[in-house]
């Protein structure tokens, strides 16, 4: 486990309990979806996972060791765990893309030359090198989102936390973003993201944690957890369409047990095409 939360508790100023005895384990190199309804405290959890918020109770562990909240600990924590908020305007402040992405690397104390290299690398990874000189305020929402991610990636985090990465993106924007993130994962970055969308969790996560009433109700592989009707119902969620279809296809003998289940819309539609009328 690269990152863990143990019995985390947090109250907001109003006394509203956002997190209660929350346990979460982030396995290295995987994509973990934190799935739950809006306003349940998923964002609060992410803010705890990189030390931006300090828990009222419980602790966060990096590589099995509890992290402190002094300046030096926070500094090294944030080097290793990057955070991308849902709203890109909450993270972008500089006038141009290049300048903005360079903020994180310079905060790491890198030299200008090194920082420049990191920025170029991050822009490359998110495929936005062409936007480098563009003013931040002239970007589309999807472009801003990528710049915000590049800003975190330029710090070369081992874990990248993403709050609702697909929110506000249309299907093509989401597909492009996930492709870029996939590349990061292949390079070894652990990805944790929150979502309220079961279809997204199924299409893209290796592991899923069901977030319910301030805690993690259960955590497991995407397939085992999202096909568990009882667990889903308890969290007021429904099964992803693609997974339901895939399970049905297995049951119908159209998909062998060792063949992979459809994850996205295209695969599902293709599988649907293979269903044949009786007697054919």
């Amino acid at each position: 486990m690269i990152l863990e939360a143990r019995r985390l508790g947090h109250c907001y100023v109003g006394g509203v309990e956002a997190l209660r005895d929350l346990d979460l384990a982030v396995p290295r190199g995987q994509r973990l979806a934190i799935l739950g309804p809006n306003g349940a405290g998923k964002t609060t959890l992410l803010l705890h996972l990189n030390g931006t918020l300090r828990p009222k109770s419980g602790q966060v562990l990096l590589d099995g060791r509890a992290v402190g909240y002094d300046r030096a600990s926070l500094n090294s924590w944030r080097r290793r765990v990057g955070l991308v908020l849902q709203e890109p305007d909450d993270q972008l402040f500089a006038a141009t893309v290049f300048e903005d992405v360079s903020f994180g690397p310079l905060n790491l104390g890198l030299s200008e030359a090194e920082a420049r290299l990191r920025v170029e690398e991050a822009l490359e990874a998110l495929r936005i090198t062409a936007l480098a000189e563009r003013p931040t305020h002239m970007l589309s929402f999807g472009q801003k989102k990528r710049v915000a991610i590049a800003g975190a990636v330029a710090m070369r985090p081992e874990v990248l936390l993403l709050d609702e990465p697909s929110a506000g993106l249309d299907s093509m924007g989401t597909a492009h973003l996930l492709a870029a993130l996939d590349q990061l994962r292949q390079a070894g970055t652990t990805l944790v993201f929150t979502t309220h969308d079961v279809d997204l969790a199924w299409s893209w996560a290796d592991q899923v944690a069901l977030f319910h009433q301030g805690g993690v109700a259960c955590q497991g592989s995407a397939e085992s957890l999202l096909s568990d009707r009882a667990a889903l119902a308890a969290a007021h969620l429904k099964m992803p369409m693609a997974l339901a279809l895939g399970l049905k296809a297995r049951q119908l003998g159209l998909l062998a047990a060792d063949q992979s289940l459809p994850r996205g819309r295209s695969e599902s539609l293709a599988l649907l095409d293979r269903l044949t009328p009786p007697g054919q």
Partner: protein, 241 residues
């Protein structure tokens, strides 16, 4: 959307070093102020307009940008046409000439400054001010202000559209009230935006300063010399005439 800002980012002169553009435009501004309006101001106006067209603006766009300040200058200059004496109000003897001279000087100065703003993005201007000794904290506040302006403008225009859709623009009283409600709703939004940005920046290692890398520019001395020479030529020419 602020037009001068958009044009600056699309300008053909966008990549020229700040020093060259600043020398040209601020030089023209000083000439407009220092030289006798005829023919100095007219020369400045012509050179600035030529510069605007060369940098990629169409003439109608350039004239459209000049029009609003021109209108304000006209209303001010109009007062020079009349004179007030014990007998009452009358036409000033050389009022027309005075107003004309003032108009041409101000228009030339506006054109010189406008040429700078339609060719140079704000980030570079503030970077220039920084090099001239603006404290780093204030430069950061200025740049963040610039960034916030666009966020708040989008919010304000959505708020305005929503108020108009609910008939908040019908009549003088309602418009005052709507404008007041809009301002009152916008201020907490602005402060909230600041708070959320702080949170977002903390996650990126914000330690109090907002340092970023600026694209490097190389100034070519010979071009500076050419610009300075041109300005000197304009000065000599108009003083000689």
């Amino acid at each position: 959307m602020i037009e001068a800002d958009r044009l600056a980012h699309a300008s053909r002169w966008r990549r020229l070093p700040l020093a060259e553009k600043a020398l040209l435009c601020l030089g023209l501004l000083i000439l407009a102020m220092a030289l006798p309006p005829w023919p100095g101001a007219v020369l400045v106006l012509l050179v600035a307009s030529a510069g605007a067209v060369i940098s990629g603006l169409t003439l109608p766009t350039w004239l459209r940008l000049l029009a609003p300040p021109c209108f304000f200058i006209l209303t001010g200059a109009a007062t020079l046409l009349v004179q007030v004496s014990a007998d009452g109000i009358g036409l000033a003897a050389d009022g027309g000439i005075q107003a004309g001279l003032l108009l041409s000087r101000a228009l030339a100065a506006v054109a010189a400054l406008l040429l700078l703003t339609v060719t140079t993005p704000m980030a570079e201007l503030v970077q220039g001010l920084r090099r001239l000794g603006l404290p780093v904290e204030l430069a950061e506040v200025t740049m963040t202000t610039y960034r916030f302006i666009f966020i708040l403008q989008d919010t304000a225009s959505a708020m305005h559209a929503s108020q108009m859709a609910r008939l908040g623009g019908d009549g003088w009283r309602r418009r005052i009230r709507s404008a007041g409600l809009l301002a009152a709703a916008l201020l907490p939004r602005a402060l909230d935006q600041a708070r959320r940005l702080e949170m977002g920046l903390l996650a990126r290692g914000f330690d109090g300063s907002l340092r970023t890398l600026m694209p490097a520019q190389r100034v070519r001395p010979w071009r500076l010399a050419v610009i300075a020479g041109g300005l000197a030529l304009m000065a000599g020419l108009s003083l000689w005439i």
